[in-house]
Every structure is written in C-alpha cells, then in structure tokens.
C-alpha cells in the first residue's frame, strides 16, 4: 500500500511540476506548484515524517503559494507584460542541460552507487521498509558495544531459518555443524549484549537497535522479532547448546521478546513526530533555529525596503525624486 501511494503521488508531483514550469500564465503555474507541493507533502508522510509534511503544507501551500498568487493578482499582468516566449532553441538547450542533470543525479540509483561512495553491505540501497535481518541487528549491536570492525565482519549468519537440529532430522556435515555452531555463538553474544540477567533489555541498547535500523515499520519490526524468536527456538532445540544460551527458560525469553516488541513500538511511533522534533530543536539545534529566525527577520526587512522604495534598486525612474534613507 505504502509503495503504491508513493509512486502515485510521485507521478502526480512530476506531472504537475512539468505543467508548472511550462504554463505561460503564472496563475496556472502557481496552481500546479501547489499540487506538486501537496504531493511532496504526502511523500513526506509516507516516509514517516508527519511533522515535516505538516510544515510543507502550512509553509508552502499556506504561505508561499499564497504569496505568489497575491503578487500575480497585484500585478494583474497583461499578455504583453508577461514577456516574450523564449525561442525553441533556448528551450531545447535548457531541456538538454536539465536532462543531463537528471541523468547524472539518478546514475547512482541505477549503478548501485551513492555519491559518497558508500554502499550498504549488499551493494544496494537499504529499502526504507525492508524487514530487518537478524544479522544486521547483531552487527549493529555488536559495533555499538565496542567490538572491532574485524570481529563484526567475522560474524556470519545465514539468512533463512537456522537449520534445525531436531532428532531424526537430517545429519549435518561437519562444515554445516561448524557454521551452526558459529550461529549459536552469535545468538549467545546477542543475548548477552542485548538482554541482562533479568531478561530485560540492556539500557541504551534497545534505543540504538531500534533507531539504527530505522525500525519504524510495524511489519518490519514484526518480521525481525519473529526471526529472533525463531532463532531462539532453534537454539533451544539444539543439542548441547543450552549451556551456551543465556536465556534458559522459555518464560524468560517470552519476557524479552514482549519487551522488545513493546519498546520498538513506542520508539517507532516517536520518529518524525512533533515531540521528536522538539526534543532536539530546542536543545542541540537551538543556535541554528535562532539563526533561521534572524534570517526571516532580515528577509522581512529586505522585503519592506524593496517593496516600498520608489524606483528600482536605487535606479531613478522618470522625474520621481529619490528620497534617502531606509523605509522601514
């Protein structure tokens, strides 16, 4: 559903943008601009940034486009005042340049390369709503807990269900056995790292875990937790591995998983919300915030000077006497 909405509103945004820049009448331009901005607001919402989406609507649609429309109405341009339509060559040249930029910008997407040369471990972009893999969780956690990069790299977990070692099942080859052994080691490590003796999440780790992976999608979280649960189960079933497992009783594990689920839900609900914003905007980013307000103040002053002055940029117009000083 989210994917469909994303592409739908993306298409609307692009079409409206094209219409916006090609209309001769600025009123149509402003209208299509409004539509584009609204579609982008929906995209923000889809990306779990409700506050930004709200700001988009309020600021752009509510202020900027209104300002545009206001100016258009004020000028009430006649056809000859709109200026000449640029020649085809100009348009073609602009199209070439614009498509160059488009191609260059979208090249990393097709080549799987990002600008900074940073790729995910699979050489692909992380999908925003990708189900979180256990391996990734463990790796992040291990890194956060101060394991070296080398240690983390050596953690190797096969995707998919961990091979069951139930009695009567297929025999494992020595290599597979060794691999399983490694998995159990990692599980053990993860349990030690993430969960304390009482089966509670180690303080700090949970937030890191959740936020590191952008675990904001409920489906994803569920998938991840399910996988964790499954692996735990395999561990439990595994022969001779019990001793290594820090979480011996099923009850304890249940507690852990429940707690995990709960915390993650709380956390993901917070992302992009106003509460989330307020947290850092009034603490770490207070200076930047204030600078923006100063900028707005300066802009207001500039607008007043420009709009009220007779003549243009200090250039005299016919016969009108120029008066010195600022008009604030």
């Amino acid at each position: 559903m989210a994917g469909f909405l994303f592409w739908l509103f993306g298409a609307i945004a692009v079409i409206c943008a094209i219409l916006c820049v090609t209309r001769r009448n600025p009123v149509y331009g402003a209208f299509f601009l409004l539509l584009t901005l609204g579609s982008v607001a929906v995209e923000f919402l889809l990306m779990h940034s409700p506050f930004i989406a709200a700001m988009q609507i309020i600021l752009y649609a509510g202020a900027i486009v209104v300002l545009f429309v206001f100016v258009i109405m004020l000028l009430s341009l006649k056809a000859e005042e709109l200026g000449e339509e640029p020649p085809m060559t100009t348009k073609a040249g602009a199209a070439v340049l614009a498509s160059c930029i488009f191609v260059l910008l979208s090249l990393p997407v097709f080549s799987g390369q990002s600008f900074a040369g940073k790729t995910t471990e699979d050489g692909k972009f992380i999908e925003l709503n990708e189900p979180v893999k256990l391996k990734t969780i463990f790796k992040v956690v291990a890194m956060r807990r101060g394991l070296s990069v080398e240690d983390v790299k050596n953690i190797k977990i096969q995707e998919g269900p961990i091979g069951n070692a139930a009695p009567g099942a297929q025999e494992f080859s020595p290599a597979e056995r060794k691999r399983n052994r490694a998995r159990y080691d990692v599980m053990y490590l993860a349990s030690v790292l993430c969960v304390d003796d009482k089966g509670e999440w180690t303080p700090g780790v949970r937030d890191e875990l959740v936020l590191s992976m952008g675990l904001t999608d409920h489906d994803a979280i569920d998938n991840g937790i399910e996988e964790v649960e499954q692996s735990m189960k395999s561990v439990e079933d595994g022969k001779g591995s019990k001793a290594r497992n820090g979480l011996e009783s099923a009850a304890a594990r249940k507690t852990v998983l429940d707690s995990m689920k709960r915390k993650i839900k709380v956390r993901s609900a917070r992302y992009g919300s106003l509460e989330h914003f307020v947290d850092f905007l009034y603490s770490r980013y207070i200076v930047a915030f204030e600078l923006v307000s100063i900028l707005i103040f300066a802009a207001i002053a500039g607008v007043l000077v420009l709009a009220r002055r007779k003549g243009f940029m200090g250039l005299e117009t016919d016969g009108e006497e120029r008066r010195g000083g600022m008009y604030l």
Binding site: A17, I101, F102, V210, L211, V292
Partner: protein, 107 residues
C-alpha cells in the same frame, strides 16, 4: 514498499524540472516557482536520507532540522524574490528577466 531509490529518482526528476524552468523561462514569477521546485526536491531527498541514516548519527535529527531550515530559507527567498518582482515591474512594466530593465541588474 518505498525504497530510497524511488525517492531518489523522484527528487532528481523534480530538481531537473526546476532547472529546466529556470533555464527556459523568462517570466520571473515562473523562475521563482522553479526555484521552489528545486528546493523541494532537495527537501525530499533530505527526508529520505535522514530516515535511512537514522540511528547512526542520532535520530535522523540533523536531516530533519536541515529540512526545516531549508523551508525557512525558501520562504524568505520567495518573499524577497517576489518583492523584487514587484520592484522590477514598477521599474520596467515587465516581469521578463531579459527585458532592458532587468539587464540593468548586471554589475
């Protein structure tokens, strides 16, 4: 499912359309709108990246703040730009940036 790739493509498309508008149009109002489009494309990508990297440098708060500021700057820019449009119109009775009045802008 929304991938970063999709956001990326959308953002690039919007930006390029903005560039096309700035380069091809002579109506200062439309040019300003195109600039708004480009800024929005940037915001969109910022949002996606903030989410993608959320947790590594914090809660994605840097990216989110940047979007907010970019919006504020866009608002200021539009306000000033539109007042220039008005001033230009008063001066040369035209909003054409290649009109003789506008070419006096050169240093």
């Amino acid at each position: 499912m929304i991938g970063v790739q999709g956001v990326y493509l959308l953002s690039a498309a919007l930006f390029s359309i903005g560039v096309y508008g700035v380069l091809s149009r002579r109506n200062l109002l439309i040019v300003l709108m195109s600039v708004e489009l480009m800024l929005n494309a940037g915001n969109l990508l910022l949002c996606a990246m903030a989410r993608m990297h959320a947790g590594v440098g914090g809660d994605g708060e840097g990216g989110q703040t940047l979007i907010l500021m970019s919006m504020a700057v866009a608002a200021c820019e539009v306000a000033v730009g539109l007042s220039i449009v008005i001033a230009l119109f008063r001066h040369s009775r035209s909003v054409d940036i290649s009109s003789p009045g506008a070419t006096q802008l050169r240093g």
